[in-house]
């Protein structure tokens, strides 16, 4: 990316006595003002990457640039980055106001300006009334808002969020998710957000970076990563999905025909594929149960299990030994195991995963 503000190039971290790099040749470009999420299972290297950006871990090789300046070897306290931790990391021996003031003190900002900026930062997170509280008197959600105010009050170049919502309960998490995104957009700060929660990543980010085993698997806008995953890992990790391996039986008019054991021939809209085999994926909510109209792919199966979740019903169906998961928005009584159902999906509902 030409207008990259934060640029990671060939970033690698290897630990002695460990065969696999924790982070391997990671290239990520983040535009100014962009909100980017590093998403992956635990141990995928996302936190290590974030800590390398922050300057808390020294990379084995590779470079980190901010605004064109190479900061790879700059110590953490000279990097000018805002950091928010999963553990909040508020200083327990200082009041809320003193916590927010700390970074300004370190920068030797004049006292009158400090007072104004602390007040503004607390206003931004709607917690101005807590300035004199002790840190131990804060709830988790308040603590994380204060941590955010503390990180942003110094106007850092980049905001780094390390699983900031993971210690909060579900309702609060959703609330704070919206708030973080609002503040990020108001301040226009370039943000890197680390999470293992794909809902958070999908909802908050301009772009996602999906990582696995120290490598970048895919970079893209949330919808693009969800709809058009580049490989099996991404397809499997983001959202729930059905994946079928098959032999290419023919291709015409942009429709690929695929022989899949148990399911027969499936039709899927796809650009030309070179190989003799292909993997097709169908998201469960695109599989229709007892469809009213005819579809390109029509199957019959037996219900193995149905999970009633209120807004949707998730149904596992056995089709000649192959399991297909379908979701239907609910209308009445859920299906019972053993029932025979028809199912189908259109050729545009499926997607061929590039090999």
């Amino acid at each position: 990316m030409e207008d990259a503000y934060l640029a990671l190039s060939k970033l690698t971290k290897t630990y002695p006595n460990q065969p696999r790099s924790a982070v391997h040749d990671v290239d990520i470009d983040v535009a100014r003002g962009e909100f980017i999420s590093l998403l992956g299972p635990s141990g995928c290297g996302k936190t290590t990457t974030l800590r390398m950006i922050a300057g808390l871990i020294a990379p084995t090789s590779g470079h980190i640039r901010v605004g064109g300046t190479d900061i790879t070897n700059r110590p953490v306290h000279k990097r000018d980055m805002g950091l928010v931790f999963q553990s909040y990391a508020l200083f327990p021996h200082m009041s809320v106001g003193e916590n927010v003031d700390f970074g300004l003190q370190m920068r030797r900002v004049a006292k009158s300006e400090r007072r104004r900026r602390v007040a503004d930062a607390l206003d931004m997170v709607h917690l101005a009334h807590l300035a004199n509280r002790r840190v131990s008197q804060l709830s988790g959600g308040q603590a994380q808002r204060i941590a955010l105010a503390r990180a942003l009050v110094v106007e850092p170049t980049v905001l780094l969020l390390d699983e900031p919502l993971s210690n909060l309960d579900a309702k609060l998490r959703e609330e704070l998710r919206v708030e973080i995104r609002r503040i990020q957009q108001e301040t226009g700060i370039t943000t890197v957000f680390v999470t293992h929660d794909q809902d958070e990543a999908l909802a908050m980010s301009d772009r996602l970076v999906v990582m696995s085993e120290g490598r970048v698997e895919q970079v893209g806008e949330p919808w693009a990563v969800y709809e058009t995953p580049e490989n099996r890992f991404v397809a499997d990790f983001i959202g729930r999905t059905n994946m079928f391996d098959g032999r290419v039986a023919g291709q015409s008019d942009g429709v690929l025909r695929l022989e899949v054991d148990g399911l027969g021939t499936l039709s899927v809209r796809a650009a030309r594929t070179g190989g003799a085999t292909a993997t097709v994926m169908v998201r469960p909510h695109r599989v229709r149960i007892d469809p009213a109209e005819r579809t390109a792919n029509e199957l019959k199966g037996r219900v193995v299990q149905s999970s009633y979740l209120g807004d949707v019903e998730s149904v596992v169906i056995d089709v000649n030994g192959t399991r297909v998961t379908a979701e239907r928005t609910h209308s009445g009584r859920p299906l019972t195991a053993g029932a025979t159902v028809a199912l189908g999906w259109g050729d545009a509902d499926a997607y061929v995963i590039p090999q």
Partner: protein, 291 residues
């Protein structure tokens, strides 16, 4: 009936707790409370002649002790020794304790064991060890004179210098253990957060690590102070009979002068001194931990 079953359950638990506490409380009572009461009672008796005491309830021993100028000197000396050894032992142990509390090295267990290994030998043995090291022709003096740093051997034994050196070393394991236990609030995340906010290593230590480690420092200091002020063996052996502290004075009064009421009164006064420091410690602890 749920209420009655709950209360009988509570009764069982109380009985179990009492059963578990009894052996410890009994041991404490027999070995600590009874002698203490006996000691307090003894201090109220009156000495009528050499090694001759008369049962009484009088404060004459206390009056004797508190009006004796030499006793005040000894008390002042003891306090001063306690403060000096506490400051030195805590200062030397602090970096070790901080390192042990935070290292994630696989050698941590071994290093911990090494740090507290001196507790495996008695302080008599360790004091004799220091006597050998610090004597006029010991390793320290011969090394310094071989290097040409000193001409005459330094007098490091049979005086306060030797007592301080030996006591500091003997107290270090206690200080290290107590401080590690009190360093719970020092965390890597807090230091990382301070770093990201622009604090260099020194400012991070001054503003974050040190204030958060104060509860540990206080606990370590109290531990060392109490042990030093009541130390008998090291001042006695290392001081060569020339260093007078309250503990050695109690011993002399009890075994040489055979003035038991006076020895008991001294012991009770020392106990009161500990009480004062314990209250002081709790005040300070609440202050550093409170916010």
């Amino acid at each position: 009936m749920p209420t009655s079953s709950r209360s009988s359950e509570g009764g069982t638990r109380r009985a179990a707790a009492a059963a578990l506490l009894t052996p410890g409380l009994l041991a404490l009572g027999v070995s600590f409370v009874v002698p203490l009461v006996w000691l307090a009672r003894m201090s109220l008796n009156r000495t009528v002649g050499p090694a001759e005491l008369q049962p009484d309830v009088s404060l004459s021993s206390y009056v004797d002790v508190l009006t004796d100028g030499f006793m005040w000197e000894v008390a002042w000396h003891t306090l001063w020794l306690g403060v000096l050894v506490t400051v030195l032992a805590v200062a030397v142990s602090y970096p070790i304790a901080l390192f042990l509390a935070r290292t994630r090295s696989r050698l941590r267990g071994l290093l911990m064991a090494l740090a507290i290994a001196p507790l495996l030998t008695s302080s008599v043995v360790r004091t004799f060890g220091w006597l050998i090291l610090l004597s006029d022709d010991g390793i320290v003096n011969s090394a310094l004179s071989t290097l040409g740093i000193i001409g005459e051997p330094l007098t490091l034994t049979n005086n306060v210098t030797g007592v301080v050196i030996a006591l500091v070393e003997i107290m270090m394991p206690y200080a290290i253990l107590a401080m590690i236990a009190g360093f719970g609030r020092v965390s890597k995340d807090l230091e990382d957060a301070a770093g990201s906010l622009g604090a260099g290593r020194l400012r991070c230590f001054v503003r974050i690590t040190f204030p958060l480690s104060l509860p540990g420092v206080l606990t370590g200091a109290l531990m060392v102070f109490v042990l030093t002020v009541s130390a008998f063996i090291t001042p006695r052996l290392m001081g060569g009979g020339r260093v007078f502290v309250i503990a050695t004075e109690i011993y002399d009064q009890a075994t040489t002068t055979l003035d038991w009421p006076r020895a008991s009164a001294l012991a009770v006064l020392l106990l009161l001194l500990f009480g004062v420091f314990l209250v002081l410690y709790q005040r300070l602890f609440r202050m550093v931990e409170g916010r």
